[in-house]
């Protein structure tokens, strides 16, 4: 399997070249184009371990209900994957320690990568107004994730704060707590920052430069009411 991210950073797409019999698993709706000899199998959650509960979990996270598995026959083929919003994409090689990916940022992974949903306390999610749901990826193999805007990494050594709408992915070695921004609830709500994620320990967090929710709120008042 060969992954090339093209058209970065504004209009990124992932070109996945597959040998015969190799498979890439992608979020439903991510496929832009593919070779004619690629067959698609649709399952809920992960293939072979698909369960209704897993699929429901995926629906709750804001990811699509179904996953598509792309496998070329004959001499191999290629699949182009894309996303809805303008922004960057990144490939990450899982090798041992796991990775947590924010709900909307997952694009695709190799079948050798295990996927499980972790969701945060409902109360916290309710207050933040954002789906602070995470997909836990473990095992070995490549993962593709995407961002709204550019991706910038932060090497955390100690403590660092990221707005919940700006998290793309982070290494499992980091602990995190979701808490109010600043010193008081009043300040967090009045200042519009709401809930943030405080990371603790050592590891990397990948942030997206832009917040899809904030963009939606800027555009929303201009849209006609239904």
């Amino acid at each position: 399997m060969q992954i090339d991210i093209t058209h970065r950073p504004g209009n990124s797409a992932a070109k996945v070249s597959l040998d015969a019999g190799e498979t890439i698993t992608a979020e439903g709706g991510a496929m832009i184009a593919m070779s004619g000899n690629v067959s698609v199998e649709t399952t809920t959650q992960k293939r072979d371990s698909g369960s209704i509960l897993g699929a429901l979990k995926r629906m709750v996270t804001g990811e699509s209900f179904f996953l598509n598995h792309f496998t070329p026959s004959g001499e191999g083929g290629e699949v182009y994957l894309g996303t809805v919003l303008a922004g960057d994409m990144m490939e990450y090689q899982l090798d041992g320690p796991g990775l947590l990916v924010q709900g909307g940022s997952y694009v695709a992974s190799a079948p050798s990568v295990n996927m499980d949903i972790q969701w945060q306390g409902l109360g916290k999610t309710f207050f933040s107004g954002e789906s602070m749901f995470l997909i836990h990826l473990s095992g070995n193999g490549p993962v593709i994730f995407n961002s709204f805007g550019a991706i910038y990494p932060i090497q955390v050594n100690g403590e660092y704060i990221v707005d919940t709408g700006h998290i793309v992915a982070f290494e499992e070695s980091l602990n995190y707590v979701i808490e109010k921004a600043g010193g008081s609830w009043l300040s967090a709500i009045l200042g519009g920052e709401g809930l943030v994620c405080k990371f603790q320990g050592q590891g990397t967090v990948w942030c997206q430069s832009h917040n899809a929710g904030s963009f939606g709120q800027s555009l929303g008042p201009n849209l006609k009411h239904q």
């Binding site: 950073p9 504004g10 303008a86 922004g87 960057d88 709204f148 805007g149 550019a150 910038y152 932060i154 100690g158 403590e159 660092y160 704060i161 990221v162 707005d163 700006h166 921004a181 600043g182 010193g183 009043l186 300040s187 967090a188 009045l190 200042g191 519009g192 920052e193 709401g194 405080k198 967090v205 942030c207 997206q208 430069s209 832009h210 917040n211 904030s214 963009f215 709120q217 800027s218 555009l219 201009n222 849209l223 006609k224 239904q226």
Partner: protein, 220 residues
Amino acid sequence: MRTTIEGGPAFAYINVDLDPGETVIAESDAMSSMAADLNLVAKLNGGFFAGILKKFLGGESLFVNHFTNNTSEARRVTLVQSTPGNSREIQLNGQEYCLQPGAFIACTPDVNFGLKWAGIKSWFAREGLFKLTVSGHGTVWYGAYGGLLEKEVDGEYIVDTGHLVAYEPQMNLNIQLAGGLFGSLFGGEGFVSRLEGKGKIVIQTRSLSGLADWVNPMLH
């Protein structure tokens, strides 16, 4: 304070490295990430009544956030606007700038905010009843949806509504129909801003209202 604007022109964001004791003031919800030991406090945007006016008449936030470094080393906060696009900084040395609603991202604490009457026509053109001015000595960061186009005007210049980002206050701003009544209604340009005088103006290459006007007919 050291700042860099990265990710531009499509996805500009601002890294602000605060030295001990320094403060940067940012628009509500502009923070994307920050050092955990920076002090964050929401404050009224220039006093209660000015804040209320700015929110309801100038299209700005009622509260802004103050990020202060109370540690003994440099600390970083990263700020961004809500739309994809470019960001710039203005160094103020006593001069004044007018910013259109939504353009303000952040400033240093010594910058003064003001409100100026923009007029009823401005309200009709969805540009706000008041306009925000920044003045004093310090740095202001502003952003746009799309790219930023700077223009030195001497005489008059016309900008489609929704595309004007900033201009110098000595410029006279008038809202008018783009052409005749027929052309304005059917040519798709509607209202335009006519700027008269001598000074600098900043234009954004996209507009949110333009995007909304494109999406709206497709909503069912």
